[in-house]
């Protein structure tokens, strides 16, 4: 019981949100492109480049704002590479994305070594991390202080973005156009929407969010950089996107679940569970959660199909996730 209450104390709320934020940002970035019909697997590479740029700029200029802006710029640049390759030169977006992921890791290793002569982790001393938000009058109470205070700028920002994205997708003409491209390209084109331009804008936007996610990783989540620091968070974001069918709010809940498992796991480690199993937990949870949600969705659509006596299987195909 003692172990149980130690693991699931109130402080796990903060830990959950902390762990969930990088995945959430990645998930927001891929939701946007998925709505335009592009599965952006290059999000990991964008995040790696963003994280690297942010920490370098932050340590050189001492300004977190400049670091964040630079990370966004680099994120957009990488997204532009992906869009030019995919949209203009008809490359398979999956191939480009996977290549970008390896490219980003190699480039950051190369630059770390040639700029600073460092191998492995980069821990600059004069680092300007992202600011944390505190509400002073809550500081007096230990529990409230833990739950509501000391959140990083982007930990709050990501939640705002979730609802912003939801508003954009459902309530603005731009969002509806974006979705129409993903749903039926030909119909959208007939309606006078520029397919490639819409996809390009979606990719650029995911570059912005991906850059922010990277900046958050190296300046908010941790105060160092290693080239492998994204380690699957981008793909967990993609899983959250598939889980929610592209709904930002449900995707956020999925990310919170991943974050919760992650933070529970790291507490279990203190009780002698081998670290490998603890590190496995978030990946396994992601797969299980995704599978269960797809199973429920399949059952629902089969029920629907049987009730209207159509085959309905092709509808299922459309929702592959």
């Amino acid at each position: 019981m003692d172990i149980f209450s130690n693991i699931f104390s109130y402080s796990i709320i903060h830990a959950t949100i902390r762990m969930a934020t990088p995945i959430l940002l990645a998930s927001i970035a891929v939701i946007i492109t998925q709505k335009a019909g592009v599965l952006n697997v290059g999000i990991e590479g964008i995040m790696t480049m963003g994280a690297f740029t942010a920490i370098v700029v932050s340590s050189q200029t001492g300004s977190w704002l400049a670091a964040v802006l630079a990370a966004i710029a680099v994120g957009v640049f990488v997204a532009c590479i992906i869009s030019v390759a995919h949209l203009k030169f008809k490359a398979d977006v999956f191939a480009v994305g996977m290549t970008i992921n390896i490219f980003a890791i190699s480039l950051s290793i190369f630059l770390l070594n040639s700029m600073f002569g460092i191998r492995g982790s980069f821990r600059p001393e004069d680092l300007a991390p992202l600011p944390k938000l505190t509400i002073p009058f809550l500081q007096s109470n230990e529990v409230l202080n833990s739950i509501f205070n000391n959140y990083g700028l982007l930990e709050i920002g990501a939640i705002v973005m979730v609802f912003g994205l939801r508003f954009f997708l459902n309530r603005t003409s731009g969002g509806l156009r974006l979705k129409s491209v993903g749903l039926n390209e030909m119909a959208a084109e007939t309606a006078g929407i520029h397919i490639d331009r819409t996809k390009f804008m979606a990719l650029v936007f995911s570059g912005v969010i991906g850059g922010l996610a990277g900046a958050h990783l190296s300046l908010g989540y941790a105060n160092f950089f290693i080239s492998s620091m994204v380690s699957g968070r981008g793909f967990m974001g993609i899983a959250a996107m598939f889980f929610s069918g592209g709904n930002p709010v449900i995707s956020w809940l999925a990310c919170l679940l991943f974050g919760f498992i992650d933070s529970t796991g790291s507490r279990l480690q203190a009780y002698g569970v081998p670290s490998e199993f603890v590190m496995m937990l978030p990946y396994i949870t992601t797969i299980v959660v995704l599978s269960v949600s797809m199973w429920l969705r399949k059952r629902k659509s089969l029920l629907l199909a049987s009730s209207v006596k159509t085959t309905g299987t092709h509808q299922l195909e459309d929702q592959k996730g």
Binding site: F103, F110, I238, E276, M280, I287, L290
Partner: protein, 343 residues
């Protein structure tokens, strides 16, 4: 026409990637000709270097075939890396455990166990994709991390050689694939790789089974309609893919390291996958692309030894090459010119 395009495209991509490399090398204040000279010397000169290239070629080539087989039935098996790790650790375990078996049987057992485990691992994603429409890119990638962590746990715990470094005990001498180009570690696994390639070239183009796989890949509904059991065939394809990836791991253990080393791969599986992707569905291009990637990677390691330039520079050149090779330059340029003419 299509094939001609692929070859032109490849040559073009290599040229551009090397130009990007020149810019990078100049940027860090080195002489590009010298660096490239070292790179090619490091890949070809002498049996040590050339053997090293062959040694690196084998796993990239086999994982490329593995990725290709899954892509025939329209599944992206990004998990080749993880399946390779599992195959490696299983073959290492069999290799040092059942030492009383006669040599050839023992070696066969190593490979069979590796294939079963790797194939089963790939089947997890396959079944989820076929039955529940779970995106297999997601699950295979996430299972990669799980597989690598499992092997890392095994090699540090139950299977550890207890020598202080993360490795299993050495496998029995009878199961070792001999080195044929000493002092390099090029081993007879090369012939296994070629065997797999020929076998699958034959299966895919000349057998009913291969025809069924291709048919499902190009039109699943039609194949269902004419009575193929498409789900089962897709799963078979995925199992084969995982099994082949595991063979790559087994060869790394039995032929190169003679034990399972923690984290031995350095993204071999990903390079294999990329080699398959830039072959763009052309099975005959797989050895060419895999060899190109292998020679660059091996050359890079030797270059690092002699010039002190980071090998990651070559990883950058390789990824730029893959990026450019994945694009359809010739097609687009050709089409643009046509457009101009029409106007």
């Amino acid at each position: 026409m299509l094939h001609k395009n692929t070859y032109l495209n490849t040559i073009f991509s290599v040229a551009i990637a090397f130009l990007v490399g020149v810019v990078l090398i100049l940027a860090i204040g080195q002489n590009p000709i010298e660096v490239y000279g070292e790179l090619f010397k490091g890949a070809f000169k002498g049996s040590l270097n050339f053997g090293g290239t062959l040694e690196k070629f084998v796993p990239i080539f086999i994982t490329a075939i593995a990725f290709y087989i899954a892509s025939v039935v329209k599944l992206f098996n990004v998990g080749v890396e993880g399946q390779m790790y599992l195959g490696a650790v299983v073959s290492a375990w069999v290799g040092f455990s059942f030492v009383n078996l006669p040599g050839p049987l023992h070696m066969l057992l190593c490979f069979v166990c590796a294939i079963v485990v790797g194939g089963a691992w790939a089947l997890i994603s396959g079944i989820l994709a076929v039955r529940l429409n779970v995106n297999e890119i997601c699950t295979t990638i996430l299972l990669n991390y799980v597989a690598i962590l499992i092997t890392s746990y095994l090699v540090n715990g139950p299977l550890s050689a207890k020598t202080g470094i993360s490795t299993t005990p050495n496998v029995a001498d009878s199961v070792i694939l001999p080195w044929f180009m000493s002092p390099s570690r090029a081993n007879t696994g090369l012939f296994i790789a070629i065997g797999i390639f020929v076998l699958f070239a034959w299966i895919l183009s000349r057998t009913t089974f291969g025809y069924k796989l291709r048919s499902i890949g190009s039109n699943k509904e039609f194949s269902n309609y004419i009575g193929m059991k498409s789900d089962r065939l897709i799963l078979t394809g995925m199992f084969l893919s995982g099994g082949i990836a595991a063979i790559a791991g087994a060869i790394q253990v039995l032929g190169v390291h003679h034990a399972f080393l923690n984290g031995f791969s350095s993204e071999i599986g990903f390079y294999g996958m990329l080699a398959a992707l830039i072959s763009k569905g052309n099975f005959k291009m797989l050895p060419v692309m895999s060899f190109l990637l292998a020679l660059l990677r091996n050359g890079a390691l030797n270059m690092q030894r002699f010039t002190g330039i980071e090998a990651s520079l070559v990883d950058i050149i390789i990824t730029v090459f893959i990026l450019i090779a994945s694009m359809d330059w010739i097609l687009v340029l050709f089409r643009e010119r046509k457009k101009v003419r029409v106007q």
